[in-house]
Amino acid sequence: MIYALVPDELPPRALPGVSPESSVGDVRVAVLEAFKEPGDPGAVSLSFNGAALDNGKSLSEYGVEPHALVHAVLDR
Protein backbone atom coordinates (compact mmCIF):
# COMPACT_ATOMS: atom_id res chain seq x y z
CA MET A 1 0.00 0.00 0.00
CA ILE A 2 1.16 3.51 -0.79
CA TYR A 3 0.38 6.07 1.91
CA ALA A 4 0.41 9.87 1.82
CA LEU A 5 1.83 11.82 4.74
CA VAL A 6 0.62 15.40 5.21
CA PRO A 7 2.36 17.62 7.79
CA ASP A 8 0.31 17.99 10.99
CA GLU A 9 -2.13 15.33 9.82
CA LEU A 10 -0.97 12.04 11.26
CA PRO A 11 -1.32 9.12 10.73
CA PRO A 12 -0.65 8.94 6.97
CA ARG A 13 -3.61 7.80 4.88
CA ALA A 14 -3.81 5.02 2.33
CA LEU A 15 -4.19 5.97 -1.33
CA PRO A 16 -6.53 3.24 -2.66
CA GLY A 17 -5.90 2.42 -6.30
CA VAL A 18 -2.49 4.09 -6.38
CA SER A 19 0.44 1.91 -7.46
CA PRO A 20 4.00 2.59 -8.64
CA GLU A 21 2.61 2.77 -12.20
CA SER A 22 0.20 5.58 -11.29
CA SER A 23 0.99 8.99 -12.72
CA VAL A 24 1.90 11.78 -10.37
CA GLY A 25 -1.18 13.67 -11.56
CA ASP A 26 -3.45 10.79 -10.49
CA VAL A 27 -1.72 10.65 -7.14
CA ARG A 28 -2.46 14.35 -6.53
CA VAL A 29 -6.17 13.64 -7.08
CA ALA A 30 -6.03 10.56 -4.81
CA VAL A 31 -4.42 12.61 -2.04
CA LEU A 32 -7.21 15.20 -2.10
CA GLU A 33 -9.80 12.40 -1.97
CA ALA A 34 -8.06 10.62 0.90
CA PHE A 35 -7.91 13.80 2.97
CA LYS A 36 -11.40 14.95 1.88
CA GLU A 37 -9.94 18.25 0.73
CA PRO A 38 -11.65 20.26 -1.99
CA GLY A 39 -9.38 22.22 -4.27
CA ASP A 40 -7.04 22.11 -7.18
CA PRO A 41 -4.98 18.91 -7.52
CA GLY A 42 -2.29 21.01 -9.18
CA ALA A 43 -1.76 22.83 -5.88
CA VAL A 44 -0.80 19.59 -4.09
CA SER A 45 2.99 19.33 -3.71
CA LEU A 46 4.33 15.78 -3.68
CA SER A 47 7.76 14.45 -2.80
CA PHE A 48 9.44 11.11 -2.25
CA ASN A 49 12.78 10.67 -0.49
CA GLY A 50 13.32 14.40 -0.76
CA ALA A 51 12.72 14.60 -4.53
CA ALA A 52 9.78 16.68 -5.80
CA LEU A 53 7.40 14.72 -8.08
CA ASP A 54 6.41 16.12 -11.47
CA ASN A 55 3.07 15.51 -13.15
CA GLY A 56 4.27 13.91 -16.37
CA LYS A 57 5.97 10.96 -14.74
CA SER A 58 4.91 7.80 -12.93
CA LEU A 59 5.76 7.06 -9.30
CA SER A 60 8.07 4.18 -10.28
CA GLU A 61 10.30 6.64 -12.14
CA TYR A 62 11.09 8.12 -8.74
CA GLY A 63 11.81 4.70 -7.22
CA VAL A 64 8.45 4.37 -5.46
CA GLU A 65 7.71 0.72 -4.70
CA PRO A 66 4.37 -0.98 -3.87
CA HIS A 67 4.86 -0.20 -0.15
CA ALA A 68 5.88 3.42 0.24
CA LEU A 69 5.28 6.71 1.98
CA VAL A 70 4.83 9.77 -0.21
CA HIS A 71 4.96 13.23 1.36
CA ALA A 72 2.26 15.70 0.39
CA VAL A 73 1.62 19.36 1.16
CA LEU A 74 -1.95 20.57 0.69
CA ASP A 75 -2.86 24.13 -0.22
CA ARG A 76 -5.14 24.80 2.77
Binding site: M1, R13, L69
Partner: protein, 500 residues
Protein backbone atom coordinates in the same frame (compact mmCIF):
# COMPACT_ATOMS: atom_id res chain seq x y z
CA UNK B 1 25.77 -25.59 90.59
CA UNK B 2 24.20 -26.91 87.47
CA UNK B 3 24.31 -24.77 84.36
CA UNK B 4 21.13 -24.35 82.43
CA UNK B 5 21.57 -24.89 78.70
CA UNK B 6 21.02 -21.72 76.71
CA UNK B 7 17.54 -21.75 75.24
CA UNK B 8 16.21 -20.30 72.04
CA UNK B 9 13.86 -17.39 72.71
CA UNK B 10 10.16 -17.77 71.92
CA UNK B 11 10.29 -15.20 69.14
CA UNK B 12 13.34 -16.77 67.55
CA UNK B 13 11.87 -20.27 67.82
CA UNK B 14 8.60 -19.16 66.22
CA UNK B 15 10.36 -17.41 63.37
CA UNK B 16 12.56 -20.42 62.79
CA UNK B 17 9.51 -22.62 62.81
CA UNK B 18 7.66 -20.44 60.28
CA UNK B 19 10.72 -20.33 58.05
CA UNK B 20 11.05 -24.12 58.09
CA UNK B 21 7.37 -24.61 57.55
CA UNK B 22 7.43 -22.21 54.64
CA UNK B 23 10.39 -24.04 53.17
CA UNK B 24 8.45 -27.30 53.37
CA UNK B 25 5.39 -25.80 51.76
CA UNK B 26 7.11 -23.91 48.97
CA UNK B 27 10.75 -24.32 48.10
CA UNK B 28 10.93 -27.99 48.99
CA UNK B 29 8.18 -28.59 46.50
CA UNK B 30 10.98 -28.24 43.95
CA UNK B 31 11.72 -31.96 43.93
CA UNK B 32 14.21 -33.80 41.75
CA UNK B 33 12.18 -35.42 39.00
CA UNK B 34 12.80 -39.11 38.35
CA UNK B 35 10.70 -39.71 35.26
CA UNK B 36 12.19 -36.94 33.06
CA UNK B 37 15.53 -35.13 33.16
CA UNK B 38 15.31 -31.82 35.05
CA UNK B 39 16.44 -29.98 31.90
CA UNK B 40 13.29 -31.20 30.19
CA UNK B 41 11.07 -30.17 33.06
CA UNK B 42 12.62 -26.71 33.30
CA UNK B 43 14.29 -26.16 29.93
CA UNK B 44 17.42 -24.00 30.28
CA UNK B 45 16.24 -21.67 27.54
CA UNK B 46 13.59 -20.47 29.98
CA UNK B 47 16.40 -18.85 32.00
CA UNK B 48 17.59 -17.24 28.72
CA UNK B 49 21.15 -16.37 29.59
CA UNK B 50 20.53 -15.44 33.23
CA UNK B 51 23.43 -16.47 35.44
CA UNK B 52 22.54 -18.04 38.78
CA UNK B 53 24.41 -20.81 40.56
CA UNK B 54 21.70 -22.39 42.71
CA UNK B 55 18.04 -21.68 42.02
CA UNK B 56 17.09 -23.12 45.44
CA UNK B 57 18.81 -20.14 47.07
CA UNK B 58 16.48 -17.77 45.26
CA UNK B 59 14.25 -16.33 47.96
CA UNK B 60 10.66 -15.16 47.96
CA UNK B 61 10.30 -11.88 49.90
CA UNK B 62 6.80 -12.86 51.07
CA UNK B 63 6.68 -16.09 53.01
CA UNK B 64 3.00 -16.61 52.60
CA UNK B 65 0.95 -19.65 53.52
CA UNK B 66 -2.10 -20.40 51.45
CA UNK B 67 -4.52 -20.36 54.39
CA UNK B 68 -3.23 -16.92 55.46
CA UNK B 69 -3.40 -15.69 51.90
CA UNK B 70 -7.03 -16.76 51.60
CA UNK B 71 -7.95 -15.06 54.88
CA UNK B 72 -6.47 -11.74 53.79
CA UNK B 73 -8.05 -11.90 50.35
CA UNK B 74 -11.42 -12.81 51.82
CA UNK B 75 -11.39 -9.63 53.92
CA UNK B 76 -10.54 -7.55 50.86
CA UNK B 77 -13.41 -9.10 48.92
CA UNK B 78 -15.87 -8.45 51.75
CA UNK B 79 -14.90 -4.76 51.84
CA UNK B 80 -15.13 -4.35 48.09
CA UNK B 81 -18.50 -6.03 47.70
CA UNK B 82 -19.93 -4.09 50.62
CA UNK B 83 -19.15 -0.91 48.68
CA UNK B 84 -20.49 -2.41 45.44
CA UNK B 85 -23.74 -3.52 47.04
CA UNK B 86 -24.22 -0.20 48.77
CA UNK B 87 -23.55 1.71 45.55
CA UNK B 88 -25.93 -0.55 43.60
CA UNK B 89 -28.69 0.08 46.11
CA UNK B 90 -28.46 3.78 45.29
CA UNK B 91 -28.23 3.21 41.53
CA UNK B 92 -24.91 5.01 41.60
CA UNK B 93 -24.21 4.67 37.87
CA UNK B 94 -27.03 7.14 37.20
CA UNK B 95 -24.94 9.74 39.05
CA UNK B 96 -21.64 9.13 37.25
CA UNK B 97 -20.62 11.77 34.70
CA UNK B 98 -21.81 10.71 31.25
CA UNK B 99 -18.42 11.24 29.63
CA UNK B 100 -16.66 9.13 32.25
CA UNK B 101 -19.16 6.29 31.81
CA UNK B 102 -18.39 6.17 28.11
CA UNK B 103 -14.74 5.76 29.01
CA UNK B 104 -15.56 2.94 31.39
CA UNK B 105 -16.91 0.93 28.46
CA UNK B 106 -13.39 0.98 27.06
CA UNK B 107 -11.46 0.77 30.33
CA UNK B 108 -13.38 -1.92 32.22
CA UNK B 109 -13.37 -4.26 29.24
CA UNK B 110 -9.64 -3.77 28.63
CA UNK B 111 -8.54 -3.81 32.26
CA UNK B 112 -10.60 -6.87 33.18
CA UNK B 113 -9.22 -8.87 30.31
CA UNK B 114 -5.62 -7.76 30.86
CA UNK B 115 -5.95 -8.95 34.46
CA UNK B 116 -6.86 -12.35 33.02
CA UNK B 117 -3.92 -12.15 30.59
CA UNK B 118 -1.61 -11.41 33.54
CA UNK B 119 -3.07 -14.42 35.35
CA UNK B 120 -2.01 -16.55 32.38
CA UNK B 121 1.43 -14.93 32.34
CA UNK B 122 2.00 -15.85 35.98
CA UNK B 123 0.72 -19.37 35.57
CA UNK B 124 3.40 -19.76 32.89
CA UNK B 125 6.04 -18.38 35.28
CA UNK B 126 4.78 -20.73 38.01
CA UNK B 127 5.26 -23.61 35.58
CA UNK B 128 8.58 -22.72 33.96
CA UNK B 129 10.65 -20.78 36.47
CA UNK B 130 13.75 -22.73 37.47
CA UNK B 131 13.56 -21.12 40.93
CA UNK B 132 11.06 -22.88 43.26
CA UNK B 133 10.44 -19.71 45.31
CA UNK B 134 9.45 -17.81 42.17
CA UNK B 135 7.10 -20.60 41.18
CA UNK B 136 5.31 -20.36 44.53
CA UNK B 137 5.14 -16.54 44.45
CA UNK B 138 3.84 -16.54 40.87
CA UNK B 139 1.16 -19.07 41.69
CA UNK B 140 -0.23 -16.73 44.36
CA UNK B 141 0.01 -13.85 41.94
CA UNK B 142 -1.91 -15.72 39.26
CA UNK B 143 -4.74 -16.19 41.81
CA UNK B 144 -4.59 -12.46 42.59
CA UNK B 145 -4.93 -11.60 38.92
CA UNK B 146 -7.87 -13.96 38.55
CA UNK B 147 -9.56 -12.21 41.48
CA UNK B 148 -9.07 -8.86 39.74
CA UNK B 149 -10.46 -10.23 36.46
CA UNK B 150 -13.50 -11.66 38.25
CA UNK B 151 -14.17 -8.37 40.01
CA UNK B 152 -14.11 -6.61 36.66
CA UNK B 153 -16.57 -9.20 35.34
CA UNK B 154 -18.77 -8.36 38.33
CA UNK B 155 -18.57 -4.62 37.54
CA UNK B 156 -19.30 -5.20 33.85
CA UNK B 157 -22.25 -7.47 34.68
CA UNK B 158 -23.78 -4.80 36.90
CA UNK B 159 -23.16 -2.01 34.37
CA UNK B 160 -24.54 -4.15 31.56
CA UNK B 161 -27.85 -4.45 33.39
CA UNK B 162 -28.12 -0.68 33.57
CA UNK B 163 -26.63 0.71 30.37
CA UNK B 164 -25.89 -0.12 26.72
CA UNK B 165 -22.29 -0.61 25.65
CA UNK B 166 -21.14 -2.87 28.48
CA UNK B 167 -22.08 -6.19 26.87
CA UNK B 168 -19.92 -8.49 24.77
CA UNK B 169 -16.70 -7.42 26.47
CA UNK B 170 -14.94 -10.74 25.95
CA UNK B 171 -15.65 -10.62 22.20
CA UNK B 172 -14.62 -6.98 22.05
CA UNK B 173 -11.31 -7.65 23.73
CA UNK B 174 -10.56 -10.63 21.51
CA UNK B 175 -11.66 -9.06 18.24
CA UNK B 176 -11.70 -5.26 18.30
CA UNK B 177 -8.83 -3.53 16.51
CA UNK B 178 -8.56 -1.06 19.36
CA UNK B 179 -7.30 -3.79 21.71
CA UNK B 180 -4.87 -5.36 19.27
CA UNK B 181 -1.88 -3.56 20.82
CA UNK B 182 -2.75 -4.80 24.31
CA UNK B 183 -3.32 -8.36 23.12
CA UNK B 184 0.01 -8.37 21.27
CA UNK B 185 1.88 -6.94 24.26
CA UNK B 186 0.48 -9.43 26.78
CA UNK B 187 1.10 -12.38 24.48
CA UNK B 188 4.66 -11.11 24.21
CA UNK B 189 4.91 -11.37 28.02
CA UNK B 190 3.31 -14.82 27.98
CA UNK B 191 5.90 -16.10 25.53
CA UNK B 192 8.86 -14.49 27.29
CA UNK B 193 11.11 -16.41 29.68
CA UNK B 194 10.05 -16.22 33.37
CA UNK B 195 12.64 -13.59 34.32
CA UNK B 196 11.83 -11.30 31.44
CA UNK B 197 8.13 -11.77 32.19
CA UNK B 198 8.67 -10.73 35.81
CA UNK B 199 10.58 -7.61 34.73
CA UNK B 200 7.69 -6.79 32.39
CA UNK B 201 4.79 -7.61 34.70
CA UNK B 202 6.07 -7.19 38.26
CA UNK B 203 8.54 -4.36 37.75
CA UNK B 204 7.42 -2.18 34.84
CA UNK B 205 3.69 -2.84 34.87
CA UNK B 206 3.14 -3.30 38.60
CA UNK B 207 5.49 -0.63 39.87
CA UNK B 208 5.62 1.75 36.94
CA UNK B 209 2.06 1.86 35.73
CA UNK B 210 -0.19 0.60 38.50
CA UNK B 211 0.23 3.71 40.62
CA UNK B 212 -0.99 5.69 37.62
CA UNK B 213 -3.91 3.34 36.98
CA UNK B 214 -4.82 2.27 40.50
CA UNK B 215 -4.02 5.31 42.61
CA UNK B 216 -4.07 8.43 40.40
CA UNK B 217 -6.90 7.35 38.10
CA UNK B 218 -9.32 6.34 40.90
CA UNK B 219 -8.94 9.87 42.25
CA UNK B 220 -10.07 11.15 38.85
CA UNK B 221 -12.87 8.55 38.78
CA UNK B 222 -14.10 9.60 42.21
CA UNK B 223 -14.20 13.24 41.07
CA UNK B 224 -16.55 12.02 38.35
CA UNK B 225 -18.72 10.16 40.90
CA UNK B 226 -17.46 6.67 39.90
CA UNK B 227 -17.05 5.46 43.50
CA UNK B 228 -17.48 1.69 43.17
CA UNK B 229 -14.99 1.41 40.32
CA UNK B 230 -12.51 3.51 42.30
CA UNK B 231 -12.82 1.02 45.15
CA UNK B 232 -12.23 -1.80 42.68
CA UNK B 233 -9.00 -0.15 41.56
CA UNK B 234 -7.84 0.31 45.14
CA UNK B 235 -8.46 -3.32 46.15
CA UNK B 236 -6.52 -4.38 43.06
CA UNK B 237 -3.66 -2.12 44.06
CA UNK B 238 -3.55 -3.71 47.50
CA UNK B 239 -2.24 -6.91 45.87
CA UNK B 240 0.22 -5.07 43.69
CA UNK B 241 2.44 -4.24 46.65
CA UNK B 242 3.29 -7.93 46.99
CA UNK B 243 3.84 -8.23 43.25
CA UNK B 244 6.17 -5.23 43.23
CA UNK B 245 8.28 -6.74 46.01
CA UNK B 246 8.70 -9.97 44.04
CA UNK B 247 9.94 -8.02 41.01
CA UNK B 248 12.31 -5.81 43.00
CA UNK B 249 13.65 -8.77 44.94
CA UNK B 250 14.28 -10.77 41.76
CA UNK B 251 16.15 -7.93 40.08
CA UNK B 252 18.30 -7.30 43.13
CA UNK B 253 19.06 -11.01 43.59
CA UNK B 254 20.14 -11.47 39.97
CA UNK B 255 22.26 -8.31 40.04
CA UNK B 256 23.96 -9.33 43.28
CA UNK B 257 24.59 -12.86 41.99
CA UNK B 258 26.51 -12.12 38.80
CA UNK B 259 27.51 -8.89 37.05
CA UNK B 260 26.87 -10.58 33.69
CA UNK B 261 23.16 -10.30 34.48
CA UNK B 262 23.28 -6.48 34.32
CA UNK B 263 23.09 -5.99 30.53
CA UNK B 264 20.36 -8.63 30.27
CA UNK B 265 18.23 -6.96 32.92
CA UNK B 266 18.87 -3.45 31.58
CA UNK B 267 17.84 -4.65 28.11
CA UNK B 268 14.55 -6.06 29.41
CA UNK B 269 13.93 -2.88 31.37
CA UNK B 270 14.51 -0.74 28.26
CA UNK B 271 12.26 -2.94 26.16
CA UNK B 272 9.37 -3.31 28.57
CA UNK B 273 9.18 0.29 29.74
CA UNK B 274 8.61 1.22 26.10
CA UNK B 275 6.31 -1.72 25.21
CA UNK B 276 4.05 -1.15 28.21
CA UNK B 277 4.24 2.63 27.90
CA UNK B 278 2.83 2.40 24.39
CA UNK B 279 -0.27 0.47 25.42
CA UNK B 280 -0.83 1.80 28.93
CA UNK B 281 -0.21 5.49 28.30
CA UNK B 282 -2.21 5.42 25.09
CA UNK B 283 -5.30 4.21 26.90
CA UNK B 284 -4.73 5.88 30.25
CA UNK B 285 -3.93 9.38 29.03
CA UNK B 286 -7.34 10.05 27.49
CA UNK B 287 -9.05 9.32 30.82
CA UNK B 288 -7.15 12.04 32.65
CA UNK B 289 -7.42 14.58 29.83
CA UNK B 290 -10.70 13.85 28.04
CA UNK B 291 -13.12 11.31 29.54
CA UNK B 292 -12.95 13.09 32.91
CA UNK B 293 -15.48 15.90 32.89
CA UNK B 294 -14.23 16.96 36.30
CA UNK B 295 -10.51 17.04 35.76
CA UNK B 296 -8.10 16.47 38.61
CA UNK B 297 -4.66 16.42 37.01
CA UNK B 298 -3.32 16.15 33.49
CA UNK B 299 -1.81 12.89 32.29
CA UNK B 300 1.45 14.71 31.77
CA UNK B 301 1.51 15.70 35.44
CA UNK B 302 0.49 12.23 36.63
CA UNK B 303 3.10 10.57 34.41
CA UNK B 304 5.86 12.82 35.74
CA UNK B 305 4.93 12.19 39.36
CA UNK B 306 4.08 8.48 39.35
CA UNK B 307 6.18 7.09 36.52
CA UNK B 308 9.20 9.34 36.21
CA UNK B 309 9.76 10.60 39.75
CA UNK B 310 8.44 7.65 41.78
CA UNK B 311 9.14 4.64 39.56
CA UNK B 312 12.21 5.58 37.53
CA UNK B 313 13.67 7.75 40.30
CA UNK B 314 13.16 5.02 42.90
CA UNK B 315 14.46 2.26 40.66
CA UNK B 316 17.65 4.10 39.77
CA UNK B 317 18.24 5.15 43.38
CA UNK B 318 17.74 1.56 44.54
CA UNK B 319 19.55 -0.38 41.82
CA UNK B 320 21.86 2.31 40.45
CA UNK B 321 24.72 1.01 42.61
CA UNK B 322 24.48 -2.26 40.65
CA UNK B 323 24.69 -0.37 37.35
CA UNK B 324 20.98 -0.04 36.45
CA UNK B 325 20.29 3.16 34.50
CA UNK B 326 17.23 5.05 33.35
CA UNK B 327 15.36 3.15 30.60
CA UNK B 328 16.85 3.90 27.19
CA UNK B 329 13.62 5.23 25.72
CA UNK B 330 12.55 7.50 28.57
CA UNK B 331 13.33 10.62 26.52
CA UNK B 332 10.92 9.46 23.81
CA UNK B 333 8.19 9.08 26.42
CA UNK B 334 8.79 12.55 27.82
CA UNK B 335 8.79 14.03 24.31
CA UNK B 336 5.46 12.28 23.73
CA UNK B 337 3.72 13.84 26.71
CA UNK B 338 2.67 17.11 25.07
CA UNK B 339 0.82 15.37 22.26
CA UNK B 340 -0.11 11.86 23.36
CA UNK B 341 -3.68 12.11 24.62
CA UNK B 342 -4.58 14.74 22.01
CA UNK B 343 -3.54 12.76 18.93
CA UNK B 344 -5.19 9.63 20.34
CA UNK B 345 -8.46 11.47 21.06
CA UNK B 346 -8.49 12.98 17.59
CA UNK B 347 -7.74 9.59 16.01
CA UNK B 348 -10.59 7.94 17.89
CA UNK B 349 -13.02 10.75 17.09
CA UNK B 350 -12.29 10.27 13.39
CA UNK B 351 -13.30 6.62 13.83
CA UNK B 352 -16.14 7.07 16.29
CA UNK B 353 -18.57 5.04 14.19
CA UNK B 354 -16.31 1.99 14.55
CA UNK B 355 -16.37 2.12 18.36
CA UNK B 356 -18.79 0.80 20.99
CA UNK B 357 -18.47 3.85 23.22
CA UNK B 358 -19.33 7.41 22.35
CA UNK B 359 -16.82 10.15 21.62
CA UNK B 360 -17.30 13.89 22.09
CA UNK B 361 -15.74 17.23 21.28
CA UNK B 362 -13.93 19.20 23.96
CA UNK B 363 -16.22 22.04 25.09
CA UNK B 364 -15.07 25.58 25.94
CA UNK B 365 -14.23 24.62 29.52
CA UNK B 366 -12.21 21.61 28.33
CA UNK B 367 -10.35 23.72 25.78
CA UNK B 368 -9.37 26.24 28.41
CA UNK B 369 -8.08 23.52 30.75
CA UNK B 370 -6.27 21.67 27.95
CA UNK B 371 -4.57 24.85 26.78
CA UNK B 372 -3.49 25.66 30.33
CA UNK B 373 -2.02 22.19 30.87
CA UNK B 374 -0.71 21.76 27.33
CA UNK B 375 0.17 25.17 25.84
CA UNK B 376 0.77 23.57 22.42
CA UNK B 377 -2.77 22.16 22.30
CA UNK B 378 -4.25 24.91 20.06
CA UNK B 379 -1.47 24.48 17.46
CA UNK B 380 -1.63 20.70 17.65
CA UNK B 381 -5.34 19.99 17.35
CA UNK B 382 -7.17 23.30 17.85
CA UNK B 383 -7.91 23.70 14.16
CA UNK B 384 -9.20 20.13 13.92
CA UNK B 385 -11.75 20.75 16.67
CA UNK B 386 -12.71 24.08 15.07
CA UNK B 387 -13.39 22.14 11.88
CA UNK B 388 -15.50 19.62 13.80
CA UNK B 389 -17.46 22.40 15.47
CA UNK B 390 -17.93 23.99 12.05
CA UNK B 391 -19.55 20.80 10.75
CA UNK B 392 -16.70 19.55 8.57
CA UNK B 393 -16.70 15.82 7.83
CA UNK B 394 -13.58 14.58 9.60
CA UNK B 395 -14.42 10.88 9.64
CA UNK B 396 -11.65 8.63 8.43
CA UNK B 397 -12.32 4.93 8.28
CA UNK B 398 -9.61 4.35 5.67
CA UNK B 399 -6.44 2.35 6.12
CA UNK B 400 -3.45 3.85 7.88
CA UNK B 401 -0.02 2.35 8.50
CA UNK B 402 -0.01 0.41 11.75
CA UNK B 403 3.18 -0.30 13.72
CA UNK B 404 4.34 -3.89 13.31
CA UNK B 405 5.54 -3.97 16.90
CA UNK B 406 3.06 -2.10 19.09
CA UNK B 407 0.13 -2.48 16.64
CA UNK B 408 -0.80 1.19 17.06
CA UNK B 409 -1.38 3.55 14.14
CA UNK B 410 1.72 5.54 13.15
CA UNK B 411 0.38 8.86 14.42
CA UNK B 412 3.18 10.29 16.55
CA UNK B 413 5.62 13.10 15.96
CA UNK B 414 8.46 14.82 17.74
CA UNK B 415 10.12 18.19 17.22
CA UNK B 416 11.83 16.77 14.11
CA UNK B 417 8.51 15.81 12.50
CA UNK B 418 6.59 12.52 12.11
CA UNK B 419 8.23 9.61 13.91
CA UNK B 420 7.03 6.99 11.42
CA UNK B 421 9.69 4.58 10.18
CA UNK B 422 9.09 2.47 7.11
CA UNK B 423 8.58 0.63 5.01
CA UNK B 424 11.42 -1.55 6.30
CA UNK B 425 12.03 -4.66 4.21
CA UNK B 426 12.88 -7.90 5.97
CA UNK B 427 12.98 -11.20 4.10
CA UNK B 428 10.70 -9.88 1.36
CA UNK B 429 8.07 -8.43 3.68
CA UNK B 430 7.55 -4.74 4.46
CA UNK B 431 7.14 -3.50 8.01
CA UNK B 432 6.08 -0.15 9.46
CA UNK B 433 7.03 1.28 12.84
CA UNK B 434 5.49 4.14 14.77
CA UNK B 435 8.85 5.17 16.23
CA UNK B 436 12.53 4.33 16.55
CA UNK B 437 12.07 2.44 19.86
CA UNK B 438 9.49 0.10 18.28
CA UNK B 439 11.77 -0.48 15.30
CA UNK B 440 14.79 -1.24 17.50
CA UNK B 441 12.88 -3.64 19.76
CA UNK B 442 11.50 -5.44 16.72
CA UNK B 443 14.93 -5.69 15.08
CA UNK B 444 16.47 -7.04 18.30
CA UNK B 445 14.14 -10.06 18.13
CA UNK B 446 12.90 -10.32 14.55
CA UNK B 447 12.23 -14.06 14.84
CA UNK B 448 9.73 -13.40 17.59
CA UNK B 449 7.87 -10.55 15.91
CA UNK B 450 8.14 -10.91 12.15
CA UNK B 451 5.29 -13.39 11.74
CA UNK B 452 2.57 -11.32 13.40
CA UNK B 453 0.19 -9.41 11.18
CA UNK B 454 -1.44 -6.12 11.99
CA UNK B 455 -5.10 -5.61 11.26
CA UNK B 456 -4.07 -3.61 8.18
CA UNK B 457 -1.81 -6.44 6.99
CA UNK B 458 -4.84 -8.75 7.19
CA UNK B 459 -6.94 -6.36 5.10
CA UNK B 460 -4.20 -5.93 2.50
CA UNK B 461 -3.73 -9.70 2.34
CA UNK B 462 -7.44 -10.09 1.64
CA UNK B 463 -8.06 -12.01 4.87
CA UNK B 464 -10.36 -9.24 6.12
CA UNK B 465 -12.79 -7.03 4.13
CA UNK B 466 -11.72 -3.42 3.60
CA UNK B 467 -15.27 -2.07 3.87
CA UNK B 468 -15.57 -0.79 7.47
CA UNK B 469 -19.08 -2.19 8.02
CA UNK B 470 -18.20 -5.59 6.60
CA UNK B 471 -14.97 -5.54 8.57
CA UNK B 472 -16.77 -5.02 11.88
CA UNK B 473 -19.43 -7.57 10.92
CA UNK B 474 -16.81 -10.24 10.26
CA UNK B 475 -15.31 -9.61 13.69
CA UNK B 476 -18.76 -9.79 15.30
CA UNK B 477 -18.44 -6.31 16.78
CA UNK B 478 -20.91 -4.32 14.69
CA UNK B 479 -23.70 -2.86 16.73
CA UNK B 480 -25.26 0.15 15.03
CA UNK B 481 -26.71 1.33 18.34
CA UNK B 482 -23.28 1.94 19.81
CA UNK B 483 -20.47 4.34 19.03
CA UNK B 484 -21.05 7.80 17.61
CA UNK B 485 -21.18 11.19 19.27
CA UNK B 486 -22.26 11.53 22.91
CA UNK B 487 -23.75 14.96 22.43
CA UNK B 488 -25.09 14.59 18.88
CA UNK B 489 -28.13 16.87 18.42
CA UNK B 490 -30.14 14.36 16.36
CA UNK B 491 -30.61 12.10 19.36
CA UNK B 492 -29.73 8.96 17.38
CA UNK B 493 -26.42 8.60 19.13
CA UNK B 494 -27.14 11.24 21.70
CA UNK B 495 -26.61 11.63 25.42
CA UNK B 496 -27.63 8.52 27.30
CA UNK B 497 -29.29 10.65 29.92
CA UNK B 498 -26.83 9.98 32.69
CA UNK B 499 -24.61 12.31 34.61
CA UNK B 500 -25.12 15.67 36.25
Amino acid sequence: MSTRPSRVGVQEATQQNIKDQYKDFTRDLGWEPSYVPKEEMYPPEHAEGVHFSDWDKFDDPFRLFYKDYVKVQEKKEESLHMVFDHAARYDYLSRVEATWLEGMKLFACGQGQTEYETCKDHMAIARYSPAPALRAASLYQSIDELRHAQNYAHYLRYANRKLPGFSGWATLFQNHWLYQGIRHCFEDILTANPFEAIIAANVVLEIGFTNLNFVALPAVGAANYEYAWSQLQLTTQSDETRHMAIGQSMMRTLLEEDSRNLPIIQGWLDKWTWRLYRVDALGGSIFFDYFAKNKVMSYKEAFQKYFVDDFIGGLVADLGPYGIKEPAYLEYMLDDMDQLSHVVWKYLYQRKDMLWFKMFQPDDEDREWLTEKYPEWPQLVGRFWDDVAGGRDVANAGLVPVCNLCQVACMFQDDQGPMIEGPVELEGRNYWFCSRPCREIFMNEPEKYKGAKTIVDLVLDGAMPDDPDEFLKQLGINDPGLGGDLFAPDGVNGNNGHGH
